[in-house]
Structures are given as C-alpha cells and as structure tokens.
C-alpha cells in the first residue's frame, strides 16, 4: 500500500475513472488550467485535455445544470464545487433536477452524476465559508450523500460514486486534504452505504463522519487512558445510512454519542438517534448525546471559532456523560 494524502487519493480516483470510462468528465471552476482550487485535479488537464477537464465561468447554477443535462443523455459528469457553500447557488439543479429526474420521468431518464468538493469549516473563514451541508442533501430522496474521512475511503468512495448510476453528493473536507494515510493500490472501490468501524470497542459507541472521525479517534484514545473502551464508527455514507452497523454496535455497547460538524437542528445525528431509539430502544442504558457545531453562524475570531467547533475533548466529555462518569 502506498501512503498518500487525501487530496492525492481523490486525484488518483479521478484519473483512474477517467481512464476507465470516456463518458466521465470533470467540470468546474479552476479545475483545468489552475489544476484545481485545492489541487485535487492536478495534472488532469495535461493528461486528458480540455474536452474532459472543463474550466467554467463562475456560474454554479449554470454549470451544475449543464452537468445534469449531460447526465440525462448518458455522460457521467463530475461537477466540482469549489466549496459546498457556493453550491447553494446550484441547489435547485441538485434537488429539483438531478434528484427527481428518474422518478418524475417514470424511470426513463438516468442521472449518473457526482457533485463534489470541500464542505464544512477550515480555519477562520467566517460565516459564509464554514458550513456543513450533509443533512440538507441527505434529506432528499433520489440523492446519495458520501463524506469520507480517510485517504483510502476518499479514493474508494469517489470511484464508487463515479460508477454509481445515481446522483451522488460527495463532500470532502478542506482540512482533510493534507491528511496522509495508506491507500490500497489496485482498483480500490469502497461501496456506498457501508459504515466502517474505525476502532473497535465495547463500552460506548461514537458515531461520526468526515472531519469528526479524527477527533473521535483522539477522544477514544483519551478514554482508553481512563479505562474506557470506545468503538468509533465512521458512517462514510450519510445516505444510504448503514443502520445495521450502527445497531450492532449500540446493541453491544448500550451507550452512544453522535458527533458531526454541522448544526444540531435536523442534523445527521438527529436521523441516527431516531433510528437507534426506534430499533434499539431496549439496548440503551443512557440517553444518546450529540456533539455538534455550535448553533451560530461561524465567527471569524479564532477563539470563538474553536468554541463553535467539535473537538476531541467535547466528544470525550459526552462519552463520559453517557457512561454516567
């Protein structure tokens, strides 16, 4: 296995899938000549040319719709959002066009498209550039939502998303792009809808995804030092949600914390908690706690920002609370 950054793992996935299938093309702002705003598409223009790596004007609604239209007649577009904050300009195309096309056409029109780019907060980018939108898209039937936390999952899930015949919202993490990890070489495809137990444990389940996986693992280590054996489940896919892995874990630990970068209200964790209370009510020995971003627009000041974000100590505290410690 090679050690790669999350960024390069995504780059490999793009390159391999473009080599594999001529119908796959990449479109977005600065994806070609600039090599990608975050360099995820580095080298692709040089290798594949401007037919398949297409720079667009700043027109998210327009180029996202162009991707959707191309998918309607059988191409397999990858539409890069420079960040998911800007995708709000294009959400009409993702929700009203892509997610509904197959259904409202009575199954006649397919929609094999990936919308991808970084989501969530980086550092001190303030209110308009620091938002996690997983739950918005996961709310919509017809969409799949994927948010990988490691380089291996980033590569494997992006390859699966590009091969999927459904519209996939693929949310990366700007703060994860430099994260290094081992990535299997061959044709590494991670199926959508399968969570991953990042750390096995028996005392408490910590459910997380994307940028909260790192803090959750750190919290688990700190808990281990206190004699608490936490199990860390990385959802990887938000929709479809791997309820089986969640319920098996909670059935074993009887206690659960759900962490996510986004806001609490109608968040991903709300759906997870709903599933657990309905399907595993009798397993629970304590109410489930959620660790989320503070219910405020993100402040610029770095101390305030830190206070607003999920971190390892907040997860650790929540885990101890559900253990009544």
């Amino acid at each position: 296995m090679a050690t790669l950054t999350y960024r390069d793992a995504l780059n490999q996935a793009l390159r391999e899938e473009m080599l594999r299938d001529d119908r796959v093309f990449l479109m977005g702002e600065e994806v070609a000549q600039y090599d990608g705003a975050y360099k995820v598409s580095r080298g692709l223009l040089k290798e594949f040319g401007p037919r398949r790596v297409v720079d667009t004007p700043i027109a998210e609604l327009g180029f996202t719709g162009i991707g959707v239209g191309a998918a309607m007649v059988g191409l397999r577009p990858i539409i890069e959002m420079m960040t998911w904050n800007f995708a709000l300009l294009a959400i009409d195309q993702i929700v009203n066009s892509a997610a509904k096309m197959r259904y409202m056409s009575g199954g006649q029109i397919g929609m094999p498209i990936v919308f991808r780019g970084p989501g969530g907060a980086a550092l001190q980018l303030a209110a308009q550039h620091s938002q996690a939108f997983e739950s918005w898209y996961a709310h919509i039937p017809g969409l799949k939502v994927v948010a990988p936390a490691t380089p291996a999952d980033a590569k494997g899930l992006l390859k699966a998303s590009i091969r999927d015949d459904n519209p996939v919202v693929f949310i990366e993490g700007e703060m994860l792009y430099n994260l290094k990890g081992e990535v299997p070489e061959d044709d590494h495809v991670v199926p959508i809808g399968v969570a991953d137990i990042k750390r096995a444990g028996k005392d408490v389940t910590i459910i997380c995804h994307s940028k909260t996986v790192g803090p959750a693992l750190k919290a688990a280590e700190a808990l281990a030092a206190e004699g608490i054996d936490a199990e860390v489940i990385d959802l990887r896919s938000i929709r479809p949600l791997d309820t089986e892995t969640i319920l098996n874990s909670v059935g074993k630990t009887n206690r659960c914390v759900v962490a996510e970068e986004g806001w609490a209200f109608a968040g991903v964790g709300a759906q997870v908690v709903d599933t657990i209370q309905r399907e595993a009510f009798d397993s629970l020995d304590a109410p489930i706690l959620r660790v989320t971003g503070a219910d405020v627009p993100m402040p610029y000041n770095k101390h305030l920002e830190r206070a607003a974000k999920v971190d390892a100590s907040k997860i650790q505290d929540a885990a101890k609370k559900v253990l009544y410690l």
């Binding site: 007649v73 191409l75 009575g106 094999p112």
Partner: protein, 339 residues
C-alpha cells in the same frame, strides 16, 4: 396556392408541400382539440395538479418540431402538452399521463408538468421556471462531446428569460459553441405579469447580443414563418455547432393555468379577442384555402378525425389502470447501483 418566384414566374404548390401543410394543420388542430378536452377533463376533476394549456401557441411547437430529426432532443417547461404531441408522443400517452395513469408517458408519476419520452428524445416537462435552460446546454454539450451532430431545442416562456439560469447558460452555450436552440415563447405574460412590468428590455431577441449569440424575433402565429426560422437555427446548431436565441411572439388565449381566468385581472377580453384574430390555425387554413387546396369539407373531415383521436385518448386514459401501489417506491434510485 401559387407563389411568386424570383423573376416573376408563378408556380403551383406541389403535392408534397400541400401534404406538409396539411400535416402542420393536423398537428395544430390536434393540439387545440386535445387542450380543449384537457380543460374539460380538468374541470370535471379528472386531471389534478397544475395544468397549463397551449391554446393559441400551437404554431410554435409544430413549426419547431418539423425541423428535427428523430435523434435530436427537446426539453421544455410545464406548458408542454402541445410540444409533446408535436414531437410525436401519442395523444393516448399524454392524456393518460394527465390522468395520472400507469400507461401515461411518465407512468403517472410526472403529470401535466413532467411529460417525458426518452425514446422520442423528449426530455421533459420541467416545473421550475427556467431551471431546464442549463439542462438543454448540457444535452448539447453531450452531443458535442460525443462528436455527433444532434441538436437540442429548449422551450421556455419569456418570463424565464429574467432568471439567472438563462444568462449563465447563454454565456456558456456561446462560449463553448454548443448545438442548442433557445426558444423564448413570448406570450406576453409571465403568469399575470405583463412583459413590460417585468423586463427592462422587452425585445427578448436583443438579449442574444449580450453573449454574441445569433438571435431572431419571429412571428409565432404563422407556422410557416416559424418553421423557416427554426430551419435556420437548427442548421446553425447542426452544421456549425453554434447556439441561437429565438424569440417567438405568440399569445395564449387561456389563463396561465387552469386556476386563472382567460381575462379579467391583468388583461382585457378585448385584448384576447384581438389576438384570436391572429389564430395560427386560421392563418394556415386561409393560406391553403386561398391557394385552392383547402375547403370547408376538408376542414370538417380533418376536425372529425382529430376529435376522434382526442376522444380515443380520453377513453384510453379513463380505462387505463392507476399505477400499482408498488410504483410509489420504484425509480427513486437506479435498480443497479453500479455499472
């Protein structure tokens, strides 16, 4: 009919042209009768939801579709029953869709606003004003990507030319030389808002200039004029891979939707009556009559034929089954996750 050729010689209209004109007339009359029947069925509660009729605008769809090949694509908004019929969808499949039946063009899942027929290159039927404009450019992008010479026609009302998607798309379509024809059907009103109350520039064809795009304003009540304009635009797309913006001046005799009166709040009866004097069906019939290959008897026979086709579509829709309850959860996602 005789026409004056260059040099002053007159020649008779040949049989093929007569047949073509009769074909256009038949399509326009079919759309008219179909929409009248749709209005009736809606009033009887047989058709639900929003329902937007095309009466008055028939020449636009018929003149446009006449220029297409079977492998071309059409994408449109929610006032699309007439366009679907002109593209060759059967009256049965469209009426059954309006009735929400399993035999409808979208299996009863789309309704009036979402008529699709992939085999006929009819890509909907979209309900958010203007949001299908970029989809058309995407379809054209795919045609060009694959190296084909197919064309995509995109229909929308003039009110859709005020939304951002229109401007973003026209910019990219011209920038990338996409084989697409953007068709503004200017019927004078965006729902109840007159053009002059919504648009700083009411001559919509002028908007092509902002993007360096070829554009043309066309009389939408004469099907032959419409056809000629589309011939030019479609050829530009097919042969030069260049987009065109067409503004077709037309008028709807009926309200915006079935819940809107034909006249009253935002336009007068006199105005509607005045436009009825420029009826697209009458204009073509007068022309054919003047040239000697049309008369009352032929009109009555054609009308009876078309009425029978519409009546048959209603019977078919009435007798067709509703979708199976299992259809509720079908086609949300592709059956096979991976290819």
């Amino acid at each position: 009919m005789t026409t004056t050729a260059p040099g002053g010689k007159t020649r008779a209209v040949d049989q093929a042209t007569q047949a073509l004109h009769r074909g256009y007339l038949r399509q326009m009359l079919l759309i008219r009768r179909f929409e009248e029947k749709t209005g009736e069925a809606y009033s009887l509660g047989k058709i639900g939801g929003f329902c937007h009729l095309y009466i008055g605008q028939e020449a636009v769809a018929v003149g446009a579709m006449a220029t297409l090949r079977p492998d071309d694509h059409v994408i449109t908004a929610y006032r699309e029953h007439g366009q679907a019929l002109a593209r060759g969808l059967s009256a049965r499949s469209v009426m059954a869709e309006l009735y929400g039946k399993a035999t409808g063009s979208s299996g009863g899942k789309g309704g009036s606003m979402h008529i699709f027929d992939a085999a006929k290159g009819f890509l909907g039927g979209h309900g958010i004003v203007g949001s299908h404009i970029p989809l058309a450019a995407g379809v054209a992008f795919a045609h060009k990507y694959r190296g084909g010479d197919q064309v995509c026609l995109c229909f929308f009302g003039e009110a859709a030319a005020n939304i951002g998607a229109f401007h973003e798309t026209l910019n990219m379509a011209e920038l990338w030389d996409l084989p697409v024809v953007f068709v503004i059907e200017n019927n004078g009103y965006g729902m109840g808002t007159a053009v002059a109350r919504a648009a700083a520039i009411t001559n919509f064809a002028d908007r092509g200039a902002a993007y360096g795009m070829a554009s043309e304003q066309v009389d939408g009540q004469n099907v032959l004029t419409v056809r000629e304009a589309f011939d030019r635009a479609v050829a530009r797309a097919r042969k030069q891979s260049k987009p065109t913006l067409l503004e077709i001046k037309t008028y709807r005799y009926v309200g915006h939707s079935m819940s809107d009166a034909a006249h009253g709040t935002y336009r007068s009866k006199e105005e509607v009556d005045q436009y009825r004097q420029k009826d697209p069906i009458a204009i073509l019939e007068d022309l054919m009559r003047a040239a000697g290959y049309w008369d009352d008897a032929r009109h009555q026979a054609l009308d009876a034929e078309v009425m029978a086709e519409v009546a048959d579509s209603v019977t078919f829709a009435e007798e067709s089954p509703d979708p199976d309850p299992s259809a509720l959860f079908r086609d949300v996602y592709a059956e096979e996750g991976h290819t």
